[in-house]
Amino acid sequence: MTCNVLIVDDSPILRKAITKVVKLAGIDEDHIHEAGNGQEALEIIDMVWIDLVLLDLNMPVMDGEEFAKALHERDDMDRVEIVIVSTESNQDRLDRMKQYGVVESLRKPFEPEDLCKLISRTLGVKT
């Protein structure tokens, strides 16, 4: 699969763990990008076309909701699929984020298999 995936999470160890799952879903390592917060993620998106963002919400500098809103306001960025991977359980907040292009959410803790299936499903629909 030649899609580009961006993992946005302030925990370096979780980014490494998620990277392993993304590779299991068939994405080459060269197509997996990482950011520690929303601001870093926007900088990467300025340089690389991203198909799927796996987004944590609770982060320093720029949190996931601010990032999704900022991305949604950019021209042509509504083609980027956003999946929330977070401890967030507040359904009202998750529903609110759908207006910013969030297509699915997966609450931590998750089983690696669930994330793998979600990635395949989201990118499969896209391609």
Binding site: I13, A17, T87, N90, D92, P109, E111
Partner: protein, 155 residues
């Protein structure tokens, strides 16, 4: 707010370890807790606010953090840098445990906000709920403390 019992917090934490990284941990008998407490060297905490506020602490031994990080990364325990990856694993698991605890106390429509995980303090008052678990490599203590102010007075 729903209060959480020691049994509930044990079930939450055991489930998180198994689902997140296939780490199996069992509850420590009360008589053995004092023995294991001396092994605990690391602590991470996270604050939550909203309808109510409080803190969640995760304290662990060297061996437990090494095992946790190795399970999360899929590498051998001897490949884990305890100061870096062990601490990262402790903070991330604190974040995940806190997310599940605030879901239990507030449900999925209460507006709770989690802070960011940070270094914790091991000594504190005993209110709230807690559990001690042992894995094959070490011990972990998880403590839900429902009132922030009490902790700060005790520290």
């Amino acid at each position: 707010m729903n209060a959480i019992t020691n049994t509930q917090i044990t079930d939450i934490v055991v489930d998180i370890f198994e689902r997140t990284c296939f780490l199996i941990a069992d509850e420590i008998e009360n008589d053995d807790i004092a023995h294991f407490q001396s092994q605990i060297k690391w602590s991470s905490k996270i604050k939550y606010s909203g309808t109510h506020e409080g803190e969640i602490f995760v304290d662990a031994s060297d061996g437990f953090l090494q095992e946790l990080a190795s399970c999360m990364l899929g590498v051998g325990t001897d490949e884990v840098d305890l100061e870096e990856e062990g601490v990262q694993a402790c903070r991330e698991i604190t974040n995940i445990i806190a997310g599940s605890i605030i879901l239990s106390i507030g449900g999925d429509h209460d507006e709770y906000k989690l802070g960011l995980p940070e270094k914790g303090t091991i000594t504190r008052t005993g209110i709230g709920a807690e559990c001690y678990l042992a894995s094959s490599c070490g011990v972990v203590h998880v403590h839900w403390h429902p009132q922030v102010g009490e902790i700060e007075k005790a520290a």
